[in-house]
Assembly symmetry: C2
Homo-oligomer: 572 residues x 2
Amino acid sequence: MRLSKYFVPTLRENPSDAEVVSHKLMVRAGMIRKVAAGIYNYLPMGLRVIRKVENIIRKYMNEAGAIEILMPAVVPAELWKESGRWNVYGKELLRFKDRHDRDFCMGPTHEEVVTDIVRNEIKSYKDLPVNLYQIQTKFRDEVRPRFGLMRGREFIMKDAYSFDVDDEGAEKSYGLMRDAYCKIFESCGLKYKVVEADSGAIGGNFSHEFMVTAETGEDFVISCDSCDYAANVEKAPVIDNFEEDDEVEKPIEKIETKNQKTVEEVAKFLNVETKKVVKTMILKAGDEIVAVMIRGDHELNLAKIKNFLNAPFVEFATPEEIVKATNGPLGFSGPIGINVKIYADNAVKKLKNYVVGGNEKDIHLINVNHTRDFKVTAFSDFINAKPGDKCPKCGGTYVITKGIEVGHIFKLGTKYSKSMNATYLDKDGKQQYIVMGCYGIGVGRTAAAAIEQNHDEKGIIWPIQIAPFEVVIIPINTDDEDVVNLSETLYKKLLKKNVEVIIDDRNERAGVKFNDADLVGYPIRVNIGKKTLENGEVEIVIRKTGDKINCKKDDALSEILRIREELYNNKI
Amino acid sequence: MRLSKYFVPTLRENPSDAEVVSHKLMVRAGMIRKVAAGIYNYLPMGLRVIRKVENIIRKYMNEAGAIEILMPAVVPAELWKESGRWNVYGKELLRFKDRHDRDFCMGPTHEEVVTDIVRNEIKSYKDLPVNLYQIQTKFRDEVRPRFGLMRGREFIMKDAYSFDVDDEGAEKSYGLMRDAYCKIFESCGLKYKVVEADSGAIGGNFSHEFMVTAETGEDFVISCDSCDYAANVEKAPVIDNFEEDDEVEKPIEKIETKNQKTVEEVAKFLNVETKKVVKTMILKAGDEIVAVMIRGDHELNLAKIKNFLNAPFVEFATPEEIVKATNGPLGFSGPIGINVKIYADNAVKKLKNYVVGGNEKDIHLINVNHTRDFKVTAFSDFINAKPGDKCPKCGGTYVITKGIEVGHIFKLGTKYSKSMNATYLDKDGKQQYIVMGCYGIGVGRTAAAAIEQNHDEKGIIWPIQIAPFEVVIIPINTDDEDVVNLSETLYKKLLKKNVEVIIDDRNERAGVKFNDADLVGYPIRVNIGKKTLENGEVEIVIRKTGDKINCKKDDALSEILRIREELYNNKI
């Protein structure tokens, strides 16, 4: 490609609405342009990256036996009503009517459509398993779209759906996808973690997230410093190895704690450790109001409570509900005398003589002890893991890493096959529900995450696997015949070797070309200038390391090919 | 690919809602499935065809210097309001509001979005010309979607937009696209015509349609039997070589023509040729009511009138408007005594002593002559061409052909650059409007048109260039070891040669496999059976010709490669 004939409108200034580095750099490098909030044009350079990510995904999906199809962006409401999601999905589902006043939505995910295909076409266990996937434009009407391609409204996604005869088959399909995802992110040249995740609103049995690690990531991942265990904060278990207080139980006392609002203030005022101040939270778990107690130095984990109670959802109770449950004011809830079930974290079980709210304004109780003073329905793990906690797999130590979720796989079970009646006939001619899994990769998000992981103050440092071009040739003195001739010759030789090369043949100063090259992030830059050419040399710059290599002009081709090879093999 | 691991749900019966052969066959061959009216799933076989068409398009667009981008499906109303199309586009434009109550539409075409990109990024004549294209999913809310992929609501389109400094440049860009389109449809293995077309509602200066010829086509094309001239019926000129009547002008007479309604009836009743009965139509051309006269044996062409009058639109006047213009009842309009301008077709100019309506119930006038009896503001070509008319280019004879419009190219001029203020600075630093062209290809429509052109009673006969697979291998006796081994060996050898091959390794009867192969339409079928194998032979069937070739099993590979080559070169 010749840059003079291409369309790469680079910018010097960061766009005013960009908060994260990938957004800033993709706009500045002329890769994307905003059309409306969360809606972008992919300009040529950006589209090339997207297509590369898509092709890597396609390769490993096909290798894993998944079959590519394409479902529509506009989906009739009937299917979503059947699954029950039409009424519960919320405003992210963009709903509208066609000219005949029929209800439709922009598909934010395609479980319904694909389940409809399979229930219509698949009759027998002989037709299973099957895994159908697509790479398609989706729409989610995010309340606050931001971060460029990271959290857009219209976005490109690879979504796959597996259909099996039973759980065992579904788990095998899940394993194939897990392996394929590892190959995909490796082949994109990315450092990533496979993270145990809560299956959340999608439902189903279990799930993993694929996180590209990056200092600028928004998600927190708990991982082990000794083994490969990783989980997101919602999911990572906290082992019940808290030390037991060996105090004798003292008599309970009521203390006025006026103006002491936070756990830290109360602890200081009462001269106890923060861990001895136990918080009592009033929650709504589905239809039921419950109390959950955790130590003052711990963080509540709603996902764990939801799973433990097997509730459809868990959220904080409203002020009215709290007052009704505790007969006391907000901010002073405690376990004694309240009329809802009490659950407590494992860490609380080991405490003695602790502090709780008194269900009265400005009152705390000290020397409180469960069992003696109130009944706990169950103890379990209700808190967020934190760095320093022990790994459940190997006993190593948890560390926390930042990352960007680029893929998510779910074992769905029969959630959709039951609601939409997707069945098959088994060997005995009996009708059975198909067992499903679903598997997503954000294509644009993967490209953006690659930038978050690989950039410097000058611009993007693309992994060569997904770079828009592998090599840029920069003729420095465009008025010098030798410079132009060698640049053109090398350009043509590289094209012949199927190298993805672009030549910056614009009539611009060298400084502009260098800055643009660093900004766009080509892995290999070849500078051809009058000065070095006097010694018969050209300069090769490796974007990733910054290394500059002078080489004889006749060796340039082989040297470029060598460096390219090493970049692909992660040897540079 | 192994058919046993693929997803190709073929059907025996035609879908009940399918009217055209491509729709029937794509559904039966397991290529598409309906999700809602005009909205389809592309199943694996269908998607492969679509991708092949896309890749052929991409190749020649890139070769012509066009640059691929990707614009969003969901487009903000602001842009459409700027161009003025938000209010005039009608119900085909699917409009909706997002969660923040902002207006959006599903883009049915992207002039607005691309013009917005270019006006923001392009400043100088040095940045022009540029041609940006995309292959993208579009939505048009057709009132009556039908014919499968032929007239869907959600469909895949290649749309390109060229931007030039002046008309000369724009015409050069137009020519490049015209040539590229020819290469594209040739490379798809299709017979097609390039047809002069009216630029219609899109506006602009001139346009051509690309028509795939097919007996089952819905569009009529006028073409010359001696040269390559072709035009659609709206556009094809009728040469003014009508014979002049050599009668003397007779005195006008009023005749009662009770119960004579049609031209034919009036002609017979008055004992004149139908061509002597001249029809006077009252039309609304923009703000003006006009009368247009054509011979009784001719068909009115509204597009020609619109262009001649340079009117924003032309339509038949309402009954009220007719009565007001003629002071007479409906059905008896004539030129004498009416109070609107009269235009007449060239053919009328040569007539003498003809019949017209009397602007009175059941009254016609005979021996009417223009100039003497009424004033004609202008004569021109206002009628549809018909077979037998003369070619304007070479004097040959018009014939009529049926076809399917698969591509359309327009020279737009400055319609969008003016309304949206897309300008550049010329060499003298003066601001000028960019001159545009736009160029569309219906991707799914091209696939469907290929079927309309190439099929028989058994199924599809894909041109090899866009076939889902080039070769199918059918092991006839799946319990015979030799048959299975040879099938597998040949399959692997073909894969190594980069042949797109599928093996029908399903446990099905040979008849089922043959029928499916003919239905899906693989260009080359290899039958491997016990019987022929006893003679050391396999059977190769060419779908296009039906030819069956027995060849030695060791020659099968080279024979398949030879046939494949010949199919690509149109030698078979």
